[in-house]
């Protein structure tokens, strides 16, 4: 049972990573990151079946932090959108080399 959960978790994580790598829309990228976090949550939950309650507590913290990140992140994306009128990260190349 735990193995299946872990495989699923890692698949989700890879999926999230893959999403971050291929997508250009900042919001979608952020959603992919959220997917990664949820993969971690899944792993925590799975482990906590064997290891005790700590893992589930951790998940709550992760969710909270993810929410905070979402708030800040979206605010930043809005700020960028005001300057560039787009959220496509390919356009944000003022800073490079």
């Amino acid at each position: 049972m735990i193995n299946e959960a872990l495989v699923l978790s890692s698949l989700l994580f890879v999926l999230g990573t893959f999403g971050v790598l291929v997508r250009r829309n900042a919001i979608i990228m952020f959603l992919c990151i959220e997917l990664q976090l949820n993969a971690v949550n899944l792993a925590f939950i799975a482990f906590s079946r064997l290891m005790g309650i700590d893992g589930q507590v951790f998940v709550f913290f992760v969710m909270t932090v993810a929410a905070a990140e979402a708030a800040v992140g979206l605010a930043i994306i809005i700020s960028v959108f005001r300057h560039y009128e787009t959220v496509n990260v390919d356009n944000f190349k003022l800073l490079r080399w």
Partner: protein, 511 residues
Amino acid sequence: MTIDFSRQLHYVWALLPEIILCVSGMVILVVGVSGRYRHAHMAAGGSIESKSGDDLGWLALLGLLGAAMANAWLYSVTEVGESSMIAVDRFRLFSNWIFLLAAVLGILISFAYVYRQRLQAGEFYALILFATAGMMFMVGARDLIVVFLGLEVMSIAVYTLTAFNRRDRKSAEGGLKYFLLGAFSTGFLLYGIALVYGATGSTNVAVIGEAISNGEASMGLLSPAVALLTIGFAFKVSAIPFHMWTPDVYEGAPAPVTAWMSAAVKAAAFVAFLRVFMVGFDAIYALWYPILWWLAAITMVGANLIALVQTNIKRMLAYSSIAHTGYLLVAIAAANETAAAGMLFYLLVYTLMNMGAFAIVMSVSHHSEERLYIDDYVGFGWSQPLLGVFLTVFLLSLAGFPGTGGFMGKIYLLLGAAESDLWILSVILVLTTVVSYWYYLRVAWVMWMKDPETEGQHNRIIVPFPMRFALLASVGLILYVGIFPSAALEFARTSIEGLGTFGGGLIGQGP
């Protein structure tokens, strides 16, 4: 006083500096949004004479003073009972000093910038305090949950600060990049924590360490876990190849934020990195040592080489800061007490010299984001001799020249490396230092040796009182530590006591 973590209330005492910072941050927020400040700020229209935001800055400094007093007070407490989520050891307290110092310097140099750029002073200072609190959580954590929480508290505040200058395109872009990549790397860190938890059944660093050394941990989970944790921390300390955000963010962020975060964020990440790896994963040193060896080597070489071709001084200092990450990674790869103490000492000195250098960059750019190219420094030394000498001292210290704190720091790191027989890494360190001389000295030669085509372009540089104070303090401390390092070295050395027993460092060999 003794602290017994079995009594929940005692957590308040153990976390007193962090709590003071959070509270004062909130107070500043509240005061900042009150009509008076908002109104005064807007009315002044950001002219340089306006001092409206200064009050909030002083308030933040007051909060930092309170935290500092609490931090000093914590030296007198002793910890009893079970090992808890929060450490009350000198290691943490020393690190706290670094963050407090960085925050104080950061705020002192921000005053002029904040009103020149019409930033919301309240939020700005409050976020610095929050981030500082997050750093303190991070280094005081004995539990990976707390590490994660501290990291996020710090990071979220810093993301915001990076993008703080809403009028500046670069600031927003930098903030976005930082945010996306930061969150992305946090995923790796978290996954690592989860796997550690799965392997050892605990998130408490001490317990993890015991479990591993008792052979109770599942190695199949532990090795990817260590790798993922390394990735997470390497991102925060900006080791190559996880450094890509650093130059962009440092260039984009408001200058005082760059100054402050380049020192403080790095310090926090390094201290937590050290604690987790040396206390938690001491027994599997052989597993992570080669990774860190290569990370250190690649970081030192790569960063110094790229820094050579930079023309923007902020970006150059960003790569220089990555290079310093490389030097500090040597300490983690060495993983012995000398190296740990050396790292603490180096972080302290690094905070002083790096922030000092940025402070002068800010004054040359008139507290804005202009005139940041190295070529803009032509004739700077001769029209502003004192600032020129200061910048030279900062650069020499960054380069690790005798007579400055940077030299003592580098020697300390090398001594640490020597104890673990990391000779090749030491040689790489000194060779890349030679490379770094070139770009540090380039600034020196541009400002002292080149004859300016137009006179007087540096005549209008203004150094307000707080920044003057910060500069004098930094230069004074750097020189003091460079010439009479004994007290500081001793302080750093004793701060390592009680962190844990390290045996891992002694088995080190070339990869």
